[in-house]
Structure formats: structure tokens, C-alpha cells
């Protein structure tokens, strides 16, 4: 029983909020709105999935939001400059992935602690977005094919939702079902032990941080397509929300350990709250307050039965 609450307490709290919104928030239950929530979750879920990979190897990535902003202005700038959209997308993905790779190199090669290395690359990426844009957004009415990346549908399901599902499922599969995932986990759980067991722990960390950058690139491209514009800091606010989603997730399913299923539910809870509170007509400042209260409260449920605070981030 304790075990059950420890594992599913946060998810249950999320379910309670969901039911509450179903009953009390006008229109929340409409299928259009629920689909909306899913679409809105996609950016956060993808970014947080990347962060989960980094954290799984016990490295923090504080740069993913700014790398996403950078990738966004690169993609947007190229498209605005007339580059064929597919090339621009590849460039955006490449920039973010390269950023992740640089993080990985700094951490595993130069041995800069990830907190510092990624704080540093975050600052650099932020400066670069302003250098590229001069603070002005790239906007335009772009190739419909490109915009369809975020606004289109595939077999009646929004592309955003399809991409999110693919990212989350593949990530889940890799972390839970493959040797790579196990090696990343072992690296994060006990680096020295993993190293002595012959696991290439540095490579695992490099992969974790690079995947975080790659995910930032995917989210960036979707953001640009969704808004048909790119501006500096456009993904900046996702930093804290992304971390919150992963931490919420760490209280579920595998308490104390970053895990993809938890991250996804965490992202879902955060978007659902943002949506539900608007439908409830709460003033904006109450939304922040409620978000804080609900996050703390739902984690309390599972935390209170975990004997030791099993979080060592």
C-alpha cells in the first residue's frame, strides 16, 4: 500500500485534478479542448524527455530551453532568408544537437560539472539568439508544408501529438528495454560501479546530454512551425516548466529516478492545469499560485510515504 502510494501518488493526485476539471471547468471535457491540451503538452513533453535522458546519466542540462530558442531562430532565420524549409529544419536540429554535444564534451572531456557547463552554454546560446535576431522576430507566412509540421493532421490526429507520441514512446523503449538505456541508468545511479563493470560511462553522459540537445531541436522546429515565427528567448520559459515536469515525473512509477513515463505524466499535469485554470476563469496570478500549490501538494502525497527523500539531484 505504501509502495503503491509512493509509486502512483502523484499520478493519482493528477487524476483527481483531472476529474475536478471535468466536473467544474466549463468545456474542459470537450474533445476539442482535450485534444488542445494534448497539443499544448507536446512542446513541454518533448523538451522534458530530452532533459530526462541527461538526468538519467546524472547530469543536469540547464541549457535546453535556450538551445531550443537558438535552434528556433536559426530555423526561422533561414526560412525567412529564403532557404528551403526542410534544409532549415535540418539546420535547426543540427544546431541544437551540436549544443548538446558541446555540453557533453565539456562535461566528459573537460570535466566541467554539468550544472556549470550547461549554465554557460545557456548564456552563450541566449546571447547568440540576440546576435542573430537583433531582438527582432522572424515572422512570415511560410511554406504550408512547413507549417503543417505543427498544424497539420495525420490520419485525423494532430501532427504535434503524433510527434510527441513517437518521441515519448521511443524514449521509453530505449530507457526501459535496451542495453543503452540500462547503461545510461547504471551510469547515473553509480558511475564508478558502472565504469568498473566496463560500461563506457563518459559516452553515456555524452549521449544523454546530446539527446537533450536533439530534443530541444525538435521542440524548436515545432514551435517555429506552430507560431510561424521565431524570436529570441521564445522557449525560455520552458526551462523551469521542463524541469518541473521531470521532477514531478521522478515522484511517479520509479520514485527517485528520472523516467520517461513519469516525465510525460508530469508534462501532462502542468499543461492540464494551465488549460483548466483558464477555463475556470481564474485570474492570472492565481494560476501561478495554484500551479505551485498543486505541484507541491501532489508530490507530498508520494513523498510523505517515501521514508528517505530519495532524490539526489
Amino acid at each position: 500500500m505504501r509502495d503503491f502510494i509512493a509509486k502512483y501518488g502523484t499520478a493519482l493526485a493528477g487524476l483527481l485534478v483531472f476529474v475536478f476539471l471535468l466536473v467544474f471547468a466549463r468545456n474542459f471535457a470537450s474533445s476539442a479542448n482535450l485534444l488542445n491540451v494534448l497539443k499544448q503538452t507536446s512542446f513541454l513533453a518533448i523538451l522534458a524527455t530530452g532533459f530526462t535522458f541527461a538526468l538519467l546519466t546524472s547530469e543536469l542540462d540547464l541549457s535546453f530551453a535556450n538551445l531550443a530558442s537558438l535552434a528556433a531562430v536559426v530555423t526561422g532565420g533561414l526560412i525567412a532568408g529564403g532557404t528551403f524549409w526542410a534544409l532549415a529544419v535540418v539546420a535547426g536540429l543540427a544546431v541544437a544537437t551540436l549544443g548538446g554535444l558541446v555540453n557533453g564534451f565539456l562535461v566528459t572531456g573537460v570535466k566541467v560539472p554539468s550544472l556549470i557547463a550547461t549554465l554557460g552554454t545557456a548564456a552563450i546560446a541566449n546571447g547568440l539568439t540576440f546576435m542573430i535576431t537583433g531582438g527582432v522576430a522572424f515572422v512570415g507566412r511560410w511554406d504550408p508544408m512547413f507549417l503543417a509540421l505543427a498544424r497539420g493532421e495525420l490520419f485525423g490526429i494532430p501532427v504535434l501529438v503524433v510527434v510527441m507520441a513517437a518521441v515519448v514512446l521511443i524514449a521509453w523503449f530505449v530507457t526501459r528495454k535496451t542495453r543503452l538505456g540500462t547503461h545510461m541508468l547504471a551510469t547515473g545511479e553509480a558511475q564508478e560501479a558502472a565504469h568498473r563493470a566496463g560500461i563506457a560511462t563518459r559516452r553515456m553522459k555524452l549521449i544523454g546530454l546530446t539527446l537533450s540537445g536533439f530534443a530541444a531541436g525538435i521542440a524548436a522546429v515545432l514551435l517555429v512551425a506552430n507560431l510561424s515565427s521565431a524570436s529570441p528567448q521564445m522557449a525560455g520559459d520552458y526551462l523551469l516548466n521542463g524541469i518541473a515536469a521531470v521532477l514531478l515525473g521522478m515522484t511517479m512509477f520509479e520514485p527517485g529516478r528520472p523516467n520517461i513515463a513519469g516525465t510525460f505524466v508530469g508534462a501532462l499535469i502542468i499543461s492540464m492545469l494551465a488549460n483548466g485554470l483558464v477555463l475556470l476563469g481564474a485570474p492570472y496570478y492565481l494560476q501561478d499560485i495554484m500551479l505551485g500549490v498543486i505541484v507541491i501538494a501532489s508530490v507530498s502525497v508520494s513523498a510523505s510515504v517515501l521514508k528517505k527523500a530519495a532524490f539526489s539531484v
Binding site: 468545456n27 512542446f43 540576440f130 515565427s229 528567448q233 483558464v278 477555463l279 476563469g281
Partner: protein
């Protein structure tokens, strides 16, 4: 009647002023109002518009929104049959109209006032803010004006690098410039009043008196007017943008169109409802100070 209001970034005082005015005016009419803050994040803004559409409000006012970026969302608003009015956002085919002052005109007013005070000759410091459309336009217009008046030289320039703790950023940056160029500048151009207040305080601490340097900026508001009038402030003039009046106008128009069923054309025929932004200096500041 239920009105949804989204301000792009409440931590920018001007956004908050518009949103607060809309809220106050709507409440006076007995409407329900939901005010949202997008925290300056594009995606959040788009989601909030979508969420408002889902919640089935009867009308939406957007403050400092972006019609090109949020084209899809504004279209969704229109498709849902919800009347949409934007404030200081730019024209959208999906909105009834945009309530606007002409930022280019505003920029030229303050720039020309500054140069006029200096006699088109001298050295100035500038404090800019590139991340905001309005302030950026004002800066560009200043540059155009300066390019035609080569006798006025910019000896130091600071750009806000922060969006949250910008006050300390401005204070530190401008303090450094003021000290570096002590006694070597005649005017300061600030891109909005918040910057000007901080610069004003810095100059005061240097022991300066009104008229020692010419400080101009843009936005307007009670504190600005008080300083313009006050003998120990360096602030000489501002261009007062009627944020509160714009908010009220949005509600009035919503009332006429959405509640009383009037045609949009009875309010304005074009995509804009222009309001006037007045240059305020010591000569007319008393007209703006409300008791």
C-alpha cells in the same frame, strides 16, 4: 457577458496598465473578466488564446499581441464567432481592429524634442531595449533622426540585457556610462519611462539640477508627470501613451459591437483605431496631473 483578456507580458508595466484598465472598465459594466498573463512567452500566449476560445468567452481583448505570430489563433477566435479587439498589437484580418498609437510618430516626437532642447548639437547617452517592439522602433527612429543631425553624437549607449531584473541592469549600466562620461554629455534618451526614473535618480545622486542635462523618454503616467513638474528631477519630457484610455476604448467598442450589435464601421473604418499620444513637458504637464 464574459470577457477574456490576455496581456503578453504583465511584468512590463505598460502591458499591465492596458490589461488593468480593460478589467476595471469591464467590471464597471458588470461583466465577468478573466485576465491572463503570457509571461512574454509566444507559445504561452498562443495557448492562452486557444484556451479562451475553448472556455467560450463572449469577447477577447489582447494587449501587446502579435498578429503575424498568432494568426492561426486569431483566426480560431474569429471562426468561433468571438469578437476580438487588440491593443497596441498591429492589425490582424481576424480582429475587429487594433487600438494603436503610432510608435514611429511617438519615436520621432521624443527624438526631436531632445535634439531641439540641445539645439541640434551636443553629446548624448542612450538607454535602449531591443527585445520589445515599441521601444525598438523608438530607438530606430532616433537613429534616423541622428543620421540627419550629425552634430549630435552618441557618446555612450546601454542596452537592457535582462527582461526581469532590468532595473538593476539599467542602474548599473547607466551608472557606469554616466561616470565614464562625466561632464561630457548634454542629454539622455531613454526608451521608456521606467529606465528614465532610474537614470533620473542616478543623475540626482551626482548632484545635478533640472536643466543640467536633458532627459527624455516615452510612456507617461502619474510618476512621470510628477517628475517632469518637479524642480529636482532631470526628466524634461515624455510622450504620453494613453494606455488606460486604450483599455477603456476597447471595452466601450466591445459593448457597442458585441452587446448592442453596432457595426464595426461605426467605430472605425480601417484596421486601426488611432489614439493620440501627446508630448508632455513642463508647459502642459499640469493638464495631465489628475488630483
Amino acid at each position: 457577458f464574459e470577457l477574456g483578456v490576455v496581456a503578453f507580458q504583465m511584468s512590463s508595466e505598460t502591458h499591465a496598465r492596458v490589461a488593468n484598465a480593460v478589467e476595471a472598465a469591464a467590471r464597471k459594466k458588470g461583466w465577468d473578466v478573466v485576465v491572463l498573463n503570457s509571461n512574454g512567452t509566444l507559445q504561452t500566449h498562443s495557448e492562452q488564446i486557444e484556451n479562451l476560445v475553448q472556455s467560450g468567452v463572449d469577447g477577447i481583448v489582447l494587449a501587446m499581441s502579435k498578429p503575424v505570430e498568432f494568426d492561426a489563433q486569431m483566426q480560431a477566435v474569429k471562426d468561433a464567432g468571438i469578437p476580438l479587439i487588440t491593443v497596441m498589437s498591429g492589425a490582424s484580418p481576424h480582429a475587429l481592429f487594433d487600438i494603436q498609437v503610432n510608435e514611429y510618430a511617438v519615436g520621432s516626437e521624443s527624438a526631436l524634442y531632445l535634439l531641439g532642447q540641445l539645439g541640434y548639437e551636443g553629446k548624448i547617452l542612450t538607454d535602449r531595449f531591443e527585445s520589445n517592439v515599441g521601444t525598438r522602433i523608438r530607438g530606430k527612429v532616433l537613429d534616423v533622426v541622428l543620421s540627419e543631425n550629425q552634430a549630435v553624437e552618441v557618446v555612450g549607449s546601454h542596452s537592457m540585457a535582462r527582461t526581469k531584473s532590468w532595473q538593476e541592469d539599467v542602474r548599473n549600466g547607466m551608472n557606469a556610462l554616466i561616470m565614464q562620461n562625466a561632464g561630457n554629455f548634454d542629454g539622455i534618451w531613454a526608451s521608456f519611462d521606467g529606465q528614465a526614473f532610474i537614470i533620473d535618480d542616478l543623475l540626482k545622486q551626482q548632484g545635478m539640477q533640472k536643466g543640467d542635462v536633458v532627459l527624455v523618454s516615452t510612456d507617461g503616467g502619474p510618476e512621470t508627470f510628477r517628475r517632469i513638474k518637479s524642480p529636482d528631477s532631470m526628466l524634461m519630457a515624455t510622450v504620453a501613451i494613453p494606455f488606460e484610455a486604450m483599455g477603456e476604448a476597447a471595452v466601450d467598442a466591445m459593448q457597442k459591437i458585441a452587446v448592442e450589435g453596432a457595426e464595426k464601421e461605426t467605430i472605425t473604418s480601417g484596421p486601426y483605431l488611432y489614439m493620440s499620444a501627446d508630448l508632455v513637458d513642463q508647459s502642459n504637464v499640469d493638464d495631465f496631473i489628475k488630483e
